[in-house]
């Protein structure tokens, strides 16, 4: 009984940046594909292996930036900081990295020879950047007729916004997501960033690529698939889109409430201690009664105005204050367990420390240790689901720049020792960015 990973024997090559593209590649890497990142010592990829290649110690520290944006190990600068950036390393596990300068003919020749041995190619760059390099579906097909090409532009490969540049956070605004999130009573300029588009587009692309791979097994045909990140996101805003389409209504943020599903109480309540919170979301009269019971049936909970959901929705601000006067006396984790036991949907708001201490994630083996030469050993967030006949675990640590050059050039592409030495001398092959990259 074969229990190998699904994509053993499948090769994925990618030129991906920031998040969405690398995320697709990660899912294939996690489930057995050989994934090769094509990188360059001469060209810095924006916001991929860092906000810059060589941040000085003066620009790294907890007072300067949040950990997710600049949380290098021990907040320390390093000669190869680009191998220690958490928002890269979190998706770089199980992958290989090679370097080549595709703007020079011999670099592009190497890339073409690699494509001849590739099943899926993924990119999420601005379309004009790829045009400039000459990396098109037509070019890839010449090398490998049945190649599957995944293109993830922000907007599209055609249309008025084709060459518009955006981070995920801008996509969030333009697709209509930012409009329906945030504090009810505050200006949108107080919105903190969200990047849901990257996850939505990335997962959609992984789905489409898997369908395409299966299609190729059955028909021998490859294909070009375009997954504009914004078009992957819009259907996830189904309720607000349909309300406009059906009723001409423009929805606004409901903050942490849920009037659409007629649920109250439904909010995030302060608990005992510093910055500790719990979400309580009552979805039925039965759950409301269970909550009242859990609170010790305070007199206010028996008032007529809270007796049914209509009343509770009408008096929701007052209701929230009263519920919070109770939650603020309790530890959020203990309260979560107590309320769940009583049959009330409740969940603490977890920070990263809570996540690592969480008994559920521990029992599920969610975190896995990886040791990487420039970072050391840490617990990484692992796989997103379990497959009963496909045992799986994280295999390789986050790839360092150019770490697998020798393997990819010699074993995969078939370059001779002499050619390898020449390409190395010409600067294509290396593990460091050129000194002029700040």
């Amino acid at each position: 009984m074969m229990t190998g990973l699904y994509f053993k024997g499948i090769r994925v090559v990618d030129i991906t940046v920031v998040w969405a593209g690398p995320y697709v590649a990660q899912m294939f890497a996690d489930w057995g594909a050989e994934v090769i990142r094509v990188e360059s010592c001469q060209h810095w990829m924006v916001n991929t292996r860092g906000q810059q290649a060589r941040p000085t110690q003066a620009t790294i520290g907890p007072e300067i930036a949040l950990p997710w944006a600049r949380g290098y190990p021990e907040w320390k600068a390093h000669p190869r900081s680009w191998n220690r950036f958490p928002w890269f390393n979190v998706h770089a596990r199980n992958k290989l990295s090679m370097t080549a300068d595709l703007t020079r003919p011999e670099g592009m020749d190497i890339f073409k020879r690699l494509i001849q041995k590739t099943d899926i190619f993924i990119e999420n760059n601005a379309p004009e950047a790829m045009d400039k390099m000459g990396v098109t579906y037509e070019m890839l097909k010449e090398q490998k007729p049945d190649i599957i090409m995944i293109r993830m532009p922000g907007w599209s490969l055609n249309g008025p916004y084709r060459n518009y540049r955006a981070f995920g956070l801008h996509m969030e605004h333009t697709c209509g997501h930012s409009q329906i999130r945030g504090y009810r009573d505050m200006d949108p300029s107080t919105l903190t960033v969200s990047f849901h588009c990257d996850a939505a587009g990335g997962a959609t692309a992984a789905y489409a690529a898997a369908v395409a791979l299966r299609h190729r097994e059955r028909t021998g045909k490859g294909q070009l698939i375009e997954i504009p990140q914004i078009e992957g996101m819009i259907p996830q805003l189904g309720q607000s889109m349909m309300d406009y389409a059906m009723n001409g209504r423009v929805q606004k943020t409901v903050h942490n409430w849920d009037p659409a599903m007629a649920r109250a109480p439904h909010n995030c309540y302060r608990c005992q201690g510093d910055d500790r919170w719990i979400n309580i979301t009552v979805t039925s009269e039965e759950e409301w009664r269970a909550l009242c019971q859990a609170m010790g049936n305070p007199p206010w909970s028996a008032e007529d105005r809270f007796a049914d959901v209509l009343g509770r929705l009408k008096n929701q601000e007052e209701l929230d204050k009263l519920v919070e006067s109770w939650t603020v006396q309790h530890d959020n984790m203990a309260l979560m367990h107590m309320l769940q036991e009583a049959g009330v949907p409740a969940g603490a708001v977890f920070n990263a420390e809570d996540a690592y201490n969480d008994p559920q994630l521990k029992e599920r083996g969610f975190f896995e240790p990886l040791t990487q030469e420039d970072c050391g050993t840490h617990l990484y967030p692992g796989l997103s689901w379990k497959a009963s006949k496909t045992p799986n675990q994280l295999r390789l640590p986050p790839c360092r720049l150019g770490e697998h050059n020798e393997y990819v050039y010699k074993q995969v592409i078939g370059v001779s020792d002499e050619e390898y030495a020449e390409l190395e001398k010409a600067g294509h092959i290396g593990m460091d960015y050129i000194p002029s990259i700040p």
Partner: protein
């Protein structure tokens, strides 16, 4: 016309039995259905999928065939009603499973085993079956029977803790995007497993938890976790927006717009956009240190940026920012999105006709490919619309179906 037109496109020929309710499971099934799979949605007799009773409703009429949410999530599916708590109901499901490639369910973990419909039993009927169970916390572990809603999953598993401002409570994402995303991840997991099953000749059981997919997702959640491991510090809601500038959302003439114009990399382009090229070399603003100086930011905002941005509309700012190669975007609402020329030119919106609501313009496909066209073969189904068609194939006559309905089996 070549033989290509008779070849399968996408997931044509793949048979899916969908027992899921609400949002995540049905969105997973929608991905499969829209890509060509034959999806049979199995609903409870009488009430059907609870999403039929969730808004927004067509013309605000809370009718079970007029839920905009349901209509959007259930395109291209057929609907049968079936009471899985009855012996006949279970048998009918098992008969349907014999022929199925995929079974999707999203009940709490004890439900399917209690019905005798756990994977170990179903595998005996159809060893090729891929069965995906979508649950809040997974099939195992101390939280497996916890009750959860979209906000609870986000609060426990997402970046809610550090979304919002420091002086107030954390704030959730918009709509129910967390639940939709779980659906997409389930589609990935299921399709990966289908690929594996077809290669090996046997299926398997997929255990996917909303909590874990949210935790592992790339919306900074995974980064937050790893950064904590690397530094010992966790992310919090910021006390102020003391970062490079201009960054973030600013009001303008007719709304709000976000231009990422700060850091040493982008500030020179901001200078260009503002028509003030000399600012690119102005040490008050252009250096790495100046860019994290809060006083300088306030000065820049008040004297230079606000005056410029308040004189321009969202689209004007956006155009000028893009011309200067600045990553940027205005805040648009649903109306802005529906009316935008870009999507119309791309034929993104799909008009779908439905027997009860008539024609509505729906969001279209999240991907484009000639080999995998997103087609609308049918609108969301009426409750039990396909009972005769589906059960007829199992050998039930219309008279049989009347009897089954009378005793509440369908």
């Amino acid at each position: 016309m070549t033989e290509e037109t008779t070849m399968e496109k996408g997931l044509e020929g793949v048979k899916v039995l969908d027992l899921t309710w609400h949002i995540a499971g049905p969105y997973c099934a929608k991905y499969l259905a829209d890509c060509g799979a034959d999806v049979i949605k199995v609903e409870r007799p009488g009430a059907g999928d609870p999403a039929r009773h969730m808004g927004p409703f067509y013309k605000d009429d809370p009718h079970p065939e007029k839920s905009g949410l349901f209509l959007h999530l259930n395109t291209n599916k057929r609907s049968v009603t079936l009471n899985l708590k009855t012996p006949t109901g279970k048998q009918i499901l098992k008969d349907l499973i014999k022929d199925a490639d995929i079974l999707l369910e999203s009940f709490r973990p004890h439900v399917m085993p209690a019905l005798g419909l756990n994977y170990e039993e179903l595998e005996k009927i159809n060893p090729r079956l891929v069965m995906t169970s979508i649950s809040s916390f997974g099939q195992t572990g101390p939280y497996r029977e916890f009750k959860a809603t979209d906000m609870i999953i986000y609060g426990m598993g997402g970046s809610m803790f550090w979304t919002g401002i420091a002086s107030r409570e954390p704030v959730r994402l918009g709509g129910t995007v967390v639940s939709y995303q779980v659906g997409v991840m389930a589609a990935v997991a299921t399709t990966f497993a289908l690929y594996g099953a077809e290669k090996r000749g046997y299926g398997e059981y997929i255990d996917i938890a909303a909590y874990e997919t949210t935790r592992a997702s790339i919306d900074r959640n995974g980064t937050d976790l790893l950064a904590y491991q690397y530094t010992g510090d966790y992310d919090k809601r910021a006390a102020s927006s003391a970062r490079s500038y201009p960054t973030g959302i600013y009001p303008c003439k007719d709304g709000y717009v976000d231009v990422s114009g700060g850091t040493v990399v982008f500030f020179p382009r901001t200078a260009k956009m503002l028509g003030r090229p000399e600012l690119a070399k102005d040490p008050r603003y252009c250096t790495g240190e100046a860019q994290i100086d809060v006083k300088r930011k306030e000065e820049f905002d008040a004297e230079i940026y606000y005056p410029w941005v308040l004189q321009r509309t969202r689209r004007e700012v956006w155009k000028e920012a893009q011309a200067a190669h600045l990553l940027s975007g205005p805040i648009f609402n649903a109306q802005d999105v529906y009316e935008d020329e870009h999507y119309k030119e791309r034929k993104y919106w799909q008009e779908i006709d439905h027997p009860v609501t008539g024609k509505i313009l729906y969001p279209g496909s999240p991907y484009r490919s000639d080999e995998m066209p997103w087609t609308v073969r049918r609108p969301a189904p009426l409750l039990g619309q396909h009972n005769e068609e589906v059960y007829g194939k199992l050998g039930y006559s219309p008279e049989d179906l009347v009897k089954l309905r009378e005793v509440g089996i369908i």
